[in-house]
């Protein structure tokens, strides 16, 4: 009976089953509700994630746009500024030279050149180049130095390979005349052949066409103001430079240059010039002149070689009488770079501004020395020179020290 009673107790009644079903139904409803809640939450979260992603993308786009705008603004400002550029170079020299005749020794320190470049690009095809120089630190009445305008010309691109320069420009002659920043050549002072024969630094006013006719083959053709020499200085061409300063323009000069640079590290060039009258019509005993120059510059690995020959022929009895009808010079300069920053050189040069007469008026010079580039654009130089001349007053022996820079 007790067992039966127990069995009944274990078997739910219909009411209990109903109750259980109701509870289960309620639980199911709860689960469904929870599921619905979760779905809603999930939907909300997904929406939030999407919104976050969208915001992140927008932020990224904004940052990118801001960066681009900033960069463009910076570049635009830089481009605007870069329409005008400034550069320059300078060189300080110490000379300790003994005159071998009765002349005065040269024991001096001199800030030889302080130069500023000012350039401006007017548009894609038209630009200005200029070079203003202060020589020997101070200029003015009774001072050693002078302020000089060495370049001021407008360059116009006729095409990708041809351009025209008009104004005051350096003559397309020699190695030093156009490229004379101190870190680009050996020796404290510019070499005497180019100084006395070419005569560098030489600029004139006029018009010049330049361009390339083939790969590595370029030309320059110029019509410019001419020299103005005189008997008082034995028709020396260096004294004939008028520097485009209220210069007598009665007679012009015509210059042409061909340059070959097709092989890296090698340049070969030649220049020819015709002067209508090197005294600007002032001396009936003088007249036209022809100048010819040829040079090479080689730099292969550590080995370098520069060689140049230049000669003048001046017409007329006046120059012939003092031997200045022929003015000529040449030099050979081998060099070797011990490292990227140290180079050694030696140079043998010979020049004569009165080579047309029988007297021995030439000057010969051995130079040797070292360049030490503290930076590719800053150089310290030392050289020793041993000159030989018939007239010992023209002969200076000793050493030079220099400091130069370019920027």
């Amino acid at each position: 009976m007790a067992a039966m009673s127990s069995g009944y107790a274990a078997t739910p009644s219909n009411e209990e089953i109903w109750q259980l079903l109701q509870e289960m139904k309620q639980q199911l409803e709860d689960v469904k509700q929870q599921n619905q809640n979760l779905k809603t939450e999930n939907q909300s979260l997904k929406q939030q994630v999407d919104e976050t992603q969208l915001k992140a993308q927008e932020a990224s786009d904004t940052a990118e746009a801001l960066a681009i705008a900033t960069e463009e603004a910076v570049k635009s400002a830089a481009a605007s500024e870069s329409k005008t550029s400034i550069g320059g170079y300078g060189e300080l020299h110490y000379n300790n030279l003994q005159n071998q005749g009765t002349g005065k020794d040269k024991d001096e320190i001199d800030f030889h050149r302080f130069v500023l470049f000012f350039n401006h690009e007017f548009n894609d095809r038209l630009r200005l180049f200029s070079e203003l120089e202060l020589e020997h630190s101070i200029s003015g009445d009774g001072q050693n130095g002078e302020v000089e305008l060495e370049q001021a010309y407008i360059q116009y691109d006729l095409s990708a390979h041809h351009r025209v320069n008009a104004g005051l420009f350096l003559m397309p002659i020699g190695l030093i005349n156009e490229t004379h920043e101190p870190n680009t050549f050996y020796g404290v002072e510019r070499n005497n052949v180019e100084k006395n024969i070419i005569p560098t630094t030489w600029w004139e006013g006029g018009v010049m066409f330049s361009g390339e006719v083939a790969e590595g083959f370029s030309y320059d053709v110029a019509m410019t103001s001419g020299l103005n020499t005189s008997l008082s200085n034995n028709y020396a061409v260096r004294n004939g430079r008028e520097k485009v300063s209220e210069a007598d323009a009665s007679d012009f000069a015509y210059t042409g240059r061909l340059k070959w640079t097709a092989i890296p590290g090698i340049e070969v060039a030649t220049s020819l010039q015709y002067q209508e009258d090197v005294t600007q019509g002032q001396d009936p005993e003088a007249g036209s002149a022809v100048f010819w120059e040829v040079h090479t510059a080689i730099q292969k690995g550590p080995y370098g070689l520069r060689a140049l020959y230049a000669t003048w022929h001046l017409d007329g009895d006046g120059p012939a009488d003092v031997g200045a009808d022929k003015q000529t010079g040449w030099y050979v300069e081998p060099s070797y770079k011990l490292t990227d920053s140290v180079g050694l050189f030696t140079r043998y040069s010979l020049w004569d501004n009165q080579a047309g007469n029988s007297s021995d008026s030439e000057v010969r010079s051995w130079d040797m020395g070292v360049n030490w580039w503290l930076d590719p654009q800053v150089v310290v130089k030392f050289d020793y020179q041993d000159q030989d001349a018939e007239d010992k007053d023209d002969e200076f022996d000793g050493f030079n020290i220099g400091l130069g820079y370019q920027f």
């Binding site: 960066a67 400034i86 006729l158 095409s159 790969e215 890296p264 009258d277 730099q299 292969k300 690995g301």
Partner: protein, 183 residues
């Protein structure tokens, strides 16, 4: 009576004026300048006509320091754009030679220069750097201690342009390496 010398002189000037005018007439109508190739044409040439999408390297932190060390002066841009993938990419970079900016196109493949070209040149002298005889010296050059592992023979009178080209080649090689490290 007209002096014969004066006659010769004026004949020279007339002849010169005629030559000048003829020259202008012949060359003056040619549309071009110191731009030898546009950036787009360069990229089309490099990628067989299909310019790929570009990427940027942001110039910040160590990258900026390294680039400025290579160039030897501050870099004004915020980023440098390049085209192509990790293995081979093209860069268009500008650097000042003596006074004016020169535009270079550089292709780097597997850490070596595949080609370098002058796209625009604005300096007064030294345009010889654009010739293939000069630029091919950079072919296959790599970077060692941030310097080129190949000797480059210079050009007389164009020293600063040569340095500018060397610097952008080093910069492109460094950035190529950097992008590979990033990926």
């Amino acid at each position: 009576m007209i002096n014969i010398k004066a006659q010769k002189k004026y004949l020279h000037r007339l002849l010169s004026t005629f030559i000048v005018l003829s020259f202008l007439a012949i060359t003056g109508n040619v549309l071009a300048r110191g731009v030898y190739q546009t950036n787009n044409d360069f990229l089309k040439e490099v990628f067989d006509g299909q310019i790929p999408s570009s990427h940027v390297v942001w110039m910040k932190g160590d990258v900026r320091d390294q680039v400025e060390d290579i160039l030897g002066h501050p870099y004004t841009g915020l980023r440098v754009r390049y085209w192509g993938g990790e293995d081979r990419n093209a860069w268009i970079l500008e650097e000042i030679g003596k006074e004016e900016p020169i535009t270079f196109g550089i292709v780097v493949k597997q850490n070596k220069i595949e080609q370098i070209k002058v796209l625009a040149y604005r300096e007064s002298r030294g345009w010889e750097v654009k010739y293939p005889a000069f630029t091919q010296q950079f072919h296959n050059a790599g970077l060692k201690d941030k310097k080129l592992d190949t000797h480059i023979d210079g050009i007389t009178g164009a020293t600063l342009s040569v340095w500018a080209m060397t610097d952008v080649a080093r910069m492109a090689l460094y950035l190529h390496e950097f992008t590979n490290r990033q990926n």
